[in-house]
Symmetry: C2
Subunit: 345 residues, 2 copies
Amino acid sequence: MNSLTIALDVMGGDKGPLVTLTAAIFAVKKVPNLHLLLCGDEKIITETLLAHQISQHNQLTLIPTTEVVAMDEKPSSALRTKRNSSMRKAIDLVEQGKAQACVSAGNTGALFAMAHCILKTLPGVERPALISSLPTHDENKHVFMLDLGANVFCEANILYQFGLMGSVMAEQVDGITKPRVALLNMGEEDIKGSDHIKLAATKLSDNDQINYVGFIEGNDIFTNKTDVIVCDGFVGNVALKTCEGVAQLVYRKLHKFLSEHFFARIIGKILAPALKKLFKSMNPDQYNGASLIGLRGIVVKSHGNAGSKAFEAAIFEAMKEVENQVPEKIKLALEQGLIEQPLTE
Amino acid sequence: MNSLTIALDVMGGDKGPLVTLTAAIFAVKKVPNLHLLLCGDEKIITETLLAHQISQHNQLTLIPTTEVVAMDEKPSSALRTKRNSSMRKAIDLVEQGKAQACVSAGNTGALFAMAHCILKTLPGVERPALISSLPTHDENKHVFMLDLGANVFCEANILYQFGLMGSVMAEQVDGITKPRVALLNMGEEDIKGSDHIKLAATKLSDNDQINYVGFIEGNDIFTNKTDVIVCDGFVGNVALKTCEGVAQLVYRKLHKFLSEHFFARIIGKILAPALKKLFKSMNPDQYNGASLIGLRGIVVKSHGNAGSKAFEAAIFEAMKEVENQVPEKIKLALEQGLIEQPLTE
């Protein structure tokens, strides 16, 4: 069994070390060959570990840092000034080959800027993308969606590359043969949408390596019509956050409804834990990690207010990408894609 | 009591006259001063009304047309070639002053193109917008969102005008004093988003007539933080359709969950109709009409697969806009807005 080394930005996220270290402790318990590099404030980490009755652990290594990137910090300023931050250190360790991946629940913009600048994109990749999986009607299948907010606006060529990269993720991480790739649009008809989306559609359908299935609309994100959904970061971010908003709204309405009806009130109490679980699974942003792909290294982003289970899931997501050599596979797909389809507009 | 005359595109929508005429019959029963102009195929309308045992009705007038705009027809082609269609006729009647508003469940793109071309925009309005109301956590309040798909991409100036128009809708239709107006963005911080959104934010906050409250994210669409949400048509359409998709997904998961648990199965059967109603209210696109605003006339769009109740709601929405003179009020607000805030970029 090969050893797996992953660097954690311990200080990142709304709850910081309380969440990240709890997740780290559970993760190493479950995976004997996992080694975690804990980047963050020495005193806080030591004390938090001691509270868990850990003074030394052969799977946990402390990497002391002195700075923290604030959740509302401007990415450009974090990149310029926070050279000794826990986030920066975790990325540096990947760049130096000392870690195979890094995980952070910190400021998304700063993480993206640092990862982009330090790790650099793979040859042929113009922009990295934030990708995550969402639930579908079929309980055993999910759908990958990208970009979820790393890039505000994306030209046709970038959307085309996202299609290639998403296809590799679905193939490597989920083991899907010839994953179906769709573009998110405001209509299914060919005539709908902006010029750059139409051009991206042409590029994707011209590439024999890609199983491009056409446009889909927002209401079909979850209907298992596709394995990969491609859109620009603005649209993806709004769609993802809207999912979260609708799930919350339905949960509240249902809760109110269950408390107002006599029979429902009784059953509501019995079912409460199971219902809560159901709605948690509907909140993809919060309960899965998202990955920055297209870089020369693996970077997994956990939600800012993730709990320890969600952060642990992000660590496992990083492990999966290391084991499946996602960056190498994306590089390969792009090289082949570049030959088949010149990347010019 | 003043008489209200509204033109209906009887042939529009997935189910056509079956739905639209049933809605028309119910609407005139409820509102004695409502007069409906039924644009569509003479034979089909006569026969459908006869099936309802109506051979003549002083509130219903047949306006025979010979063509129908197909649901998947290209807007430009519909505009050029379908001059004697039921949709075109309904809009023509508004333009000629013979109807105070028109309602259609037909092809959105074609309706938009025809309405834009025939009715023209109000002075100062660059682009009309599709607006609808969505539910919020507070049962007695909803939120207006625009644009929902009439315009793929919108410059700052157009978003600014949408803010003004949305504010008038919330004020006139819902009677809200100083409606809160927000821009949909991928973050709440001022630094997030594209340049045109930041510029639109400056324009909106510089106008004293507008109660601009800043950026909101997708998860806050439903939390009653604002009365009006402004975005471009692509983003608005994806967000709206995503709502529909999430509601369907939750409904399915809940249904499955209720059928799998013994207690829940019993209670699920008792609660089924009420649950269905709850989820219908979560499907704003389908159960409210949307309006095309910024035009010199009132055009209400019902969902393509609307049932008769939804189409009836769209007729009542049109009545409300006529009674509150929405286009006149938008014109006034824009005239004042133009003086306070020169519309240049």
